[in-house]
């Protein structure tokens, strides 16, 4: 039975089990800190406000720390108020995302965390039971639980601390400072950091590896403030259909592509396999789909066309990546990415590009523990300014032990029926509308089944008339 206890885990208390779990896990302990380096850089390793010292924002049912696999502990309510109640000292809005019939009309309220009942975007998708424990209450959706209105990881800690406007500027500045020190390093098979090669822990289960993109430590308005108006609308649209209509359209549920940003989603990556060679570093991971990041060392992008690219002018679901070594640090630039979405996060466009820096983490004796992964994301269509995500990969072993990577073939068994994701049995006959995969197929489903009575959205340009 779930245990409902208001404000059970306050910010300071929450850090205690975190630290305790970290201690139990022995020496392989990371903080969310940036890379271990004394280097003064224009574009990497800037100080970071450790999110692991912040409490969760949204209402959720937690089973222990969740760091080391499934827990046998009963789920415990962590939130501002359980279903059907309002937190003490908080005045609810007359209309919020759970009571609104048309979220488009509520735009002026989107900046108020109370519109989302102080739930993070990840908590909103959990309320109906998205991750198996429901907090929607007896009179859904209006009886939904509240999150902690006082908890929010600062926006200033999310945006890029570097002054670059584009990924190209950023990459070139990093390369210039590396060159000024005599780099980039040209590795051979004798000198390439072979200790990188091996199996790494599921990033979501690596101790102290919370980062903001897991979307559990921010109020929704804080995340919206990072987005352009159109992408704000898209994020609230998804939040509404998570929170209100219970019509989640997660791409992986239909075996649709995962997309580039799902590399940072807490549920999309399990153990990672990394292989380092002088000219190529490959990062392999995935659960429902395969994520293969091939980092082409020493190559340059073709700068002709809409975005920099390595191959043909075809947007790629996970982009194309170049990089260079600075000693045992790898600096990369990814471009030519297909726009898409990650549920509970935000959509991105084909303009998305990233600068990612992989730096070894070592203990006091210099033993290799894993990699610090700092990413700065540039998307002028979706983001009002670049953002940064920092996390750690904890090395588990070399390839001579442990389970091998399982190459995934996703066979669709869940289909949208009347707009609702529905498991379908072999032999069952259904009516199925072929989605337009490059036209926001989730939006088409929501508009057809759940938004007919909402404020008419801007008509698309008439491309068919030549009168």
């Amino acid at each position: 039975m779930p245990i409902f206890k208001r404000n059970q885990i306050a910010r300071n208390l929450w850090t205690l089990p975190v630290l305790a779990a970290a201690c139990l896990l022995g020496s392989s302990v990371f903080a969310q800190a940036t890379a271990q380096t004394d280097l003064e850089s224009v574009g990497r390793g800037a100080p970071l406000l450790d999110l692991n010292t912040y409490a969760l924002t949204g209402a959720t049912m937690r089973r222990g720390t969740g760091f080391v696999g499934p827990s046998t502990e009963p789920p415990v309510f962590n939130g501002g108020a359980p279903p059907g109640e309002t937190p003490a000292g908080v005045e609810a809005l007359p209309i919020d995302i759970f009571t609104s019939k048309d979220f488009y009309k509520d735009r002026a309220l989107w900046t108020d965390p109370r519109y989302f009942r102080c739930n993070s975007s990840a908590a909103l998708e959990d309320l109906w039971g998205g991750n198996r424990a429901s907090l929607i209450g007896e009179n859904p959706p209006t009886s939904a639980a509240w999150g902690h209105c006082e908890n929010d990881y600062p926006r200033e800690a999310i945006v890029s601390p570097y002054g670059f406007k584009t990924a190209q500027e950023h990459y070139e500045a990093l390369k210039a400072e590396t060159t000024a020190r005599g780099g980039p390093t040209v590795h051979t098979y004798e000198t390439v950091p072979g200790e990188w090669t091996g199996r790494y822990q599921h990033p979501g289960r690596t101790p102290n590896n919370w980062y903001w993109y897991r979307m559990r430590h921010n109020q929704v308005p804080t995340i919206l403030s990072l987005l352009t108006p159109e992408y704000q609308t898209r994020m609230v649209q998804e939040a509404y259909h998570h929170a209100n209509t219970n019509a989640a359209q997660w791409p992986s549920q239909y075996c649709w592509p995962e997309g580039f940003m799902r590399r940072w989603h807490e549920a999309a990556q399990w153990e990672l396999s990394i292989m380092a060679t002088p000219k190529m570093v490959q990062i392999l991971g995935g659960v429902v789909r395969n994520f293969i990041t091939n980092i082409h060392i020493g190559r340059d992008f073709n700068m002709e066309g809409n975005v920099p690219r390595l191959g043909a002018d075809v947007p790629r679901w996970y982009g194309e990546t170049i990089g260079f070594w600075d000693g045992d640090t790898l600096i990369t630039w990814t471009s030519n990415i297909q726009g898409w979405k990650a549920h509970a996060a935000f959509e991105w466009s084909n303009q998305m590009q990233s600068i990612e820096i992989y730096t070894p983490n070592r203990d006091a004796d210099g033993k290799f523990l894993g990699l610090n992964h700092e990413a700065i994301l540039y998307d002028p269509e979706a983001l009002v300014e670049p953002v940064r995500i920092v996390r750690n990969y904890e090395k588990l072993s070399d390839f001579d032990e442990g389970d091998p990577y399982v190459f995934v073939e996703c066979i669709q068994s869940i289909f949208p029926i009347d707009g609702v994701a529905t498991p379908v049995s072999p032999g069952q006959v259904i009516e199925y509308k072929i989605p337009d995969m490059y036209g926001r197929p989730w939006d088409a489903i929501w508009k057809e089944y759940f938004e007919k009575d909402m404020e008419k959205q801007q008509e698309a340009e008439d491309i068919f008339s030549f009168e």
Partner: protein
């Protein structure tokens, strides 16, 4: 650049195929569903380019005879056809890509239609892209429009 090319003999057409847009030699699926003895030629408006793993698919609404709008169904909605081409990377190198053919692009193409009568076909011959928002005159194709871009070395095939 204005390009017009009308092969008049079967021999010429066969010879031109060698220089046409490089259709897949090693296909990922059977093309037997298409009727290779029939050719349709369309001028249409792009609705979507799908760089799918099998072969690039270009979805379009065929233009009506006067080239002022597109053919529509009984509900007034555009009728949409699909033409299957070569691999996405190969076609991008030829000039057919998501970025080069955004929705609204007017182009002309020949195809072998499906045997079952559904609205799709396999590309045959060359492809012509009209200048932006500049459809051809009534009954004509993009190869007749000044400034059109030719993809591949072959012209539009003769319907049969």
């Amino acid at each position: 650049m204005k390009m017009q090319f009308k092969p008049t003999t079967t021999l010429a057409a066969v010879a031109l195929l060698a220089g046409a847009v490089s259709l897949p030699v090693l296909a990922h699926h059977s093309f037997a569903m298409y009727n290779m003895n029939t050719i349709k030629v369309f001028t249409g408006v792009v609705t979507r380019v799908d760089p799918a793993p099998n072969h690039l698919q270009l979805f379009f609404a065929p233009m009506n005879e006067d080239r002022k709008n597109v053919e529509r169904d009984e509900k007034g909605e555009p009728v949409v056809w699909a033409v299957e081409m070569g691999g996405s990377a190969q076609m991008a190198r030829e000039g057919v890509s998501v970025n080069a053919f955004p929705p609204g692009t007017v182009f002309s193409v020949g195809m072998h239609p499906l045997r079952n009568g559904e609205k799709a076909g396999s590309m045959e011959g060359g492809l012509f892209k009209c200048p932006e928002r500049t459809p051809p005159a009534a009954g004509m194709h993009c190869d007749s429009v000044e400034g059109s871009i030719q993809i591949g070395k072959a012209g539009l095939p003769e319907p049969k």
